[in-house]
Structure formats: C-alpha cells, structure tokens
C-alpha cells in the first residue's frame, strides 16, 4: 500500500509543473546563480572558515632558552656539538616557530586570526564563545622541549589545546595544524637523534577521535558546493509543506473518506504520509545532488556518510510533513502548510545559513544549527571536506531529536477518528 501511495504522490507531483519548479527548478537556478555569479564576489572561490584563535604563553621563552643553554653547558657533550646545538636551539624555539611559521603562514591567514593573550586573561577567554580554540604554551615548555630533543632529558610537557565544541570545524583545523607542526618540528629538529617529538598535544575540551589528517588534504568548500548544499537542504523542506497540503486536500476532496471506507487505518495513513515524504525527499535530494555532481563537479568523498546525512535529513523532512498534515487536519485548512512554506522555510534558510553566514550573532548561529536544514548543511560540509562520520554526531543527533519531537507531536495531534465531519 505504501508503494501505491508513493506512486500516486509522484504522479500528482509530476503532473504539477508549479510544484516541480519549486522542488527542482528553483534550487538548481539558485545554485547556478549564487554559485557562479557570486563566486567571484566571494573571492578566491572559497567560503571562509574563519577561526579565531587565542594563543597564550605562560612562560618566557627567552629565559627558558638561557636555562636550556646552561643545562647544555653543564652536560658532558663535546664542545663542538655544544656550539652547534646552541645555535640550532636559538633558531628552533618551538613557540616562535609555531607563531611565525604556522599561525602566521600566508596561506592559513585566510582561515585564522590569531590573538596573543596575557596568561591572566586565559580564564576569561575560555568562557568567550567566539574563540574557536585556545593554544596554551605552559611554563617551562620551551626549555623542556629543547632539552628533550637535544639532551634526551625526557620530561614531557604538553602543549594544550582548548577546543570550542560549537566550532568543531575550526577547532579541528587548529588541532590538525598542531599535529602537523608537531610532526614537522620533530623531523626538522632531530638532526640525527632518534627520540622524535616530545610535546604531546592534549585536547582538553574533547577527546580526539578518529584519524588526524592534515589541513592541506581538506577539500576546499567552493561557493558552488556551498550553495549546492545550502539550496538543497532548504528546498527539500518544500516537500514537507507540499505533502501537508496534499494530505489535507485528500480530506477536503473526500478521497481520504474512501480510504477509511476501504478500511485503511488512520495509522497506516499516517505512516504512509511519513514514508512518502521521506522517499520523495530522498528522490529530490538525489536529483539535486546528482545534477550538481554531474554538471558542477560537487562530488562526495565518502558516499556512506553522505547517505547517512541524507537519510537523517529526509527523516526530519518526513516528520515535518506528518506534523503539517496533523496541524492542517486540526485547523481544517491548509494554513499551516502555507505558513511553513512562506515564512518558516525562509527564516530557517536564513538562520540555517543556506544563503551564507549572514548573522554574526552566535545566538542565531546556534539556533540555526538546530534547524534541520542548518544541521544538515553543517553535516554535509564536514562530510564534503573529508571529516569522518564521528565529527558529525552533533548534527545527526540534532536531526534525530528534531524528527522525534515533530513526529510525537504529529502523532498526538492526528485525528484518531477518520473521515467525514470530525
């Protein structure tokens, strides 16, 4: 029976050019216009991922260097090596290198804005949500790194990274940077010594899961990709309002009565609406992303993760479809579908970020990431950039919780007695 519903609904939509235009035509046109025409304006074709980073150095690297030099003097190394090591150590001050070569790197400056802060204001900055990450260089770090590398005196000191969980993308980037730095630092500084790098990074706010890959490997988010995702997650919401309207009209036109007369239970109908919406949403996203892949080169590195995000998003859309159906049935009009398609989708699209990050307010961004389209978009972006599935658990939860809440409300509100004048 569900198959019949889907087939019927597909036929009804296909024969309705206006709906097809909204569901497929509009997003494709917008992707093309926004992705290409505005691509130049957006400069460098890359959507900015701006990470605000604070760096705090608790010790004084100059003093620590002299401390190290004293230790070096006291060691039993031959004189010539002492001189060479002293010279190398001055050039290889880890905190300086981190600052100059990594964080101030021309290429990376596009993504990062680094701010040096006083140790005293660390606690305050930790509470400030606008920072994506804080790098803390603890006291004695310079001295200990140098002596562990050059003198084999293995007291380990950690470089600390505080990650802002709300800014996963950016803080992951910083984590990857540090890991890369760590590897390169040890390689570049061993000079024949075998004991590699010795400043483990501890990620404090969150344990580091999954593999660590380098920033250079991340596919940049071009504006075409951005809008392919942004428009798709927005326009898939129209499936829900359309289903709500269709279902309501089935009641108005008494075809719903015919189903009741054929002994189709209310719940079967309810589930049919839910599943039909999900399948149609899947089809729509399939077509949109398919076209984007074929013509605009928006391809996905990990198809499984992509499908999981798509499924979660479609489940949310299905639940909205069911909710709108219930509300329309209760209101004895299509009002809720209309409000949803005219007002709510637009608001969701803006705060969810479909048209680019327009709001600097953290609060709005926070709300935006709770909308199904906003959560879906964030998840798609990460997947697109090659982040592992584990990095989008927040978004998946957000979608799942949204779906469950919408479905429960829909089920509670759905009229339990079928047909006629309820």
């Amino acid at each position: 029976m569900i198959i019949q519903f889907i087939k019927k609904q597909l036929l009804l939509m296909i024969r309705n050019p206006q709906i097809l235009l909204i569901l497929l035509g509009m997003p494709l046109i917008l992707i093309t216009i926004l992705g290409f025409a505005l691509g130049g304006v957006m400069n460098g074709e890359e959507v900015r991922l701006k990470a605000k980073i604070a760096i705090v150095e608790k010790g004084d690297s100059g003093e620590e260097l002299s401390l190290f030099l004293k230790e070096l003097e006291a060691s039993g190394l031959p004189k010539e090596s002492k001189a060479a090591i002293a010279e190398a150590a001055e050039r290889l001050l880890p905190s300086e290198l981190l600052r100059d070569q990594v964080l101030e790197n021309q290429e990376l400056k596009k993504y990062l804005s680094v701010q040096e802060i006083e140790p005293g204001s660390l606690e305050k900055v930790k509470k400030d949500d606008s920072y994506s990450a804080i790098i803390e260089i603890p006291e004695g770090f310079t001295e200990q790194v140098l002596s562990s590398i050059f003198l084999d005196e293995g007291k380990r000191t950690e470089l600390r990274l505080y990650r802002n969980e709300g800014e996963e993308l950016a803080s992951n980037l910083v984590r990857d940077l540090l890991t890369g730095f760590q590897e390169q630092y040890s390689l570049g500084s061993v000079m024949g010594r075998s004991n590699g790098a010795n400043f483990p990074i501890s990620a404090i706010s969150q344990e580091v899961k999954g593999g660590i890959s380098h920033v250079e490997e991340r596919t940049p988010l071009t504006s075409t990709t951005y809008y392919a995702v942004g428009m798709s997650v927005m326009f898939v919401l129209y499936i829900a309002s359309n289903m709500g309207s269709f279902a309501y009209r089935e009641k108005e036109d008494h075809v719903f009565d015919r189903m009741v007369l054929a002994d189709v239970s209310i719940w079967k109908y309810f589930i049919a609406i839910l599943l039909t919406t999900i399948i149609l949403a899947l089809l729509q996203l399939g077509i949109l992303f398919g076209i984007c892949a074929l013509f605009y080169g928006v391809t996905w590195p990990d198809l499984t993760s992509f499908l999981i995000v798509t499924l979660a998003l479609c489940l949310a859309v299905g639940s909205i479809g069911a909710l709108l159906t219930s509300l329309n049935y209760r209101a004895h009009s299509e009002a809720f579908s209309n409000i949803f398609s005219t007002v709510i989708i637009t608001v969701f699209a803006f705060i969810g970020g479909s048209f680019g990050g327009m709001f600097s307010s953290d609060f709005i961004q926070e709300i935006g990431s709770l909308t199904p389209n906003g959560a879906g978009m964030q998840a798609y972006f990460k997947i697109f950039q090659g982040y592992p599935l584990s990095s989008i658990t927040t978004e998946l939860w957000s979608l799942a919780i949204f779906s469950v809440i919408a479905l429960v409300i829909a089920a509670v509100l759905f009229p339990k007695k079928g047909g006629g004048a309820i």
Partner: protein
C-alpha cells in the same frame, strides 16, 4: 440485512438527524428522498461509520457495526455526494489506486478495472486525466470507484447532481442493472422524485432530520389518493372566477396564480361541469383543464407544505 435504528446526530446544538429508522432487505432498491439539508448525507456518513451517531445503532444482519465497522465496510460500497477522485490522475490510475487500497492485485485488479470501465462507459477516456472530464464523466467514475470491491450493498448519495440528462439516464440505467444483474442492495438518495419513482421499490421521505413518510411507491401515493388536483388554465386571469370557485363547499382548496388556477377535490367528486358553468357566468375562458393523480412531489408538498427543490 442492513438496519438503522433510532439514529440521531447532533452537530453542536443543531439536530441534523433525529430518531431515524431505515431498513434494507437483500436485493432491494430503496430511495431516500429529501430537500437540501434534510440529513441524508449525515445518515450515510453514520452508516459507513465516517462519523459516529449521537444516538442509535446501525446493524448488519442484526449485529451492531458501530464498534466494528470492518464487517460492514467489506460489503459496502459508497458513492459520495462529492466527486471524491484525484483530479490529476487518469481514470485508470484512480481505479488502480483505489483498487489496491481495497487490496486487489494483479490480474484480478486488471479484470475488475476493465469490467468497470466498460460499465461506466469510460473505456475510451481511461487514460485521460480526470480534470479534463465532463461533470457526467466524473460522476460515472465516482460510481465506478465504489464498485471496485464488488460490494453487496451500494449507497449512492445524489449520484446525478448537476449533470446533463443523457448522463443521468445512463447512470439510472446502470443502477437498475446493478440491482437486477448483481442483485445488489441499493440505497439511493436524491431530491428528484422521478429518479426514485423510476428506481426504487420502497421509499423513505425525510425532512429536517426526520422520516416523514415511508413505504412502497403506491403506499406513499395513497396518502394523497383520497384527493386529486385539477389544474385550470385561463385565457386571462379572472378574480371573479376564482372567487366563485372558492364559494363551492366541496372544492377543498382553490389557489390561483395569474392565469393558472389549482383546485383540490375529494377523489370521488367530478366538478368539471360546474367549473365550466362558472366560467361561462363570470366570462372567463378556459384554455385547458386537467385532472392529475398524485406524484411523490405532491406527497412531499402535502406533507411539508414546501416544494422539494427551490
């Protein structure tokens, strides 16, 4: 086999149906007549358990179906008053969808659809979308969909509203055939007396939520059989003529409108001679004079003092 027992329905304060009793025997065609708002559709919705009655019971073979409508739904076909079809699907797609909803599959469904398309005369148009159909064609398909699961009982709610006489005759013939050939039990609702007279063995007449008369055609007409109506058409209207008629004691009622005068008399009275005489005396010229036996329309007028349709 199907019985409606002191059925009532209140919509908020308004009583749409009150204390209605109806029964249908196997193979009967029964008419339910009444003007707009009489409560016909409300009764049908309660029988098909789309809405629940405020009071009373609906029974199939003496079992109440209010709690378990499934029993009745298996054998019941309903032709709703409204066109309940998908306008953007073709006739065939509509039949397929509702057929599958009725759990028909494969060859059985295909044969059934072919059979129904034949019956409702839409074979040539089966692949056209319903919204391109005429009113009559939609009505026919509306009936066809109700026949998909071979119902034993068919309830038709004003199946001929708003269509041309040709389609109407077609539908009436079909209904007659369903009853004759498939021994279908039919409850037929209408405002048209002549349809009900043509189709039905027994008739219920209702008004304002109540059954006001019931019985076979003849029984109902016999309500009026004690009287008959004489219609007189004059060349010019004449008050003197009408006034003189009113003086005659055995003429029960005399009404006039312009050149037409209606006189109701007891059946055994034959007043033609006297009427012509009065016409002579008052200088009125009679163009036609006619004695009518009662129609159901007259019965309704008699019972309610109102015409069936405005």
């Amino acid at each position: 086999m199907l019985e409606v027992v002191s059925l009532s329905k209140d919509f908020k304060k308004h009583k749409a149906v009150e204390g209605v009793n109806i029964f249908l025997e196997k193979g009967e065609t029964v008419g339910l007549l009444g003007p707009n708002g009489a409560g016909k559709s409300t009764i049908i919705s309660m029988i098909s358990s789309l809405i629940s009655p405020s009071e009373g019971d609906v029974r199939l073979h003496n079992d109440s179906i209010l709690k378990h409508p499934q029993m009745l739904r298996k054998v019941l076909g309903v032709v709703p008053q409204e066109i309940a079809l998908y306008n953007d699907l073709t006739a065939r797609e509509n039949l397929e969808f509702f057929g599958k909803i009725h759990r028909l599959r494969g060859k059985a469904l295909k044969d059934k659809i072919a059979d129904i398309l034949d019956q409702i005369g839409l074979k040539e148009r089966q692949n056209d979308v319903v919204k391109t159909f005429s009113g009559g064609m939609k009505r026919r398909l509306n009936i066809g969909v109700a026949l998909l699961h071979d119902p034993e009982i068919l309830i038709m709610d004003e199946p001929t509203v708003g269509i041309d006489p040709q389609s109407r005759n077609y539908i009436l013939e079909q209904v007659k055939r369903l009853n004759r050939e498939k021994n279908m039990t039919i409850l037929y609702t209408s405002h048209y007396m002549e349809e009900v007279e043509f189709l039905c063995d027994r008739i219920y007449i209702m008004d304002k939520g109540h059954i006001i008369a019931s019985g076979t055609k003849d029984e109902i007409k016999s309500i009026l059989s004690a009287e008959s109506t004489i219609l007189i058409k004059l060349e010019r209207s004449s008050d003197a003529f009408v006034d003189r008629l009113k003086e005659i004691a055995y003429l029960k009622t005399v009404t006039s409108q312009d050149k037409e005068v209606t006189v109701v008399v007891p059946k055994e009275v034959h007043p033609f001679n006297q009427i012509f005489q009065i016409a002579d005396e008052t200088g009125a010229t009679i163009v036609t004079i006619d004695r009518k036996t009662a129609t159901l329309e007259d019965v309704f007028l008699h019972l309610t003092g109102r015409a069936l349709r405005d």
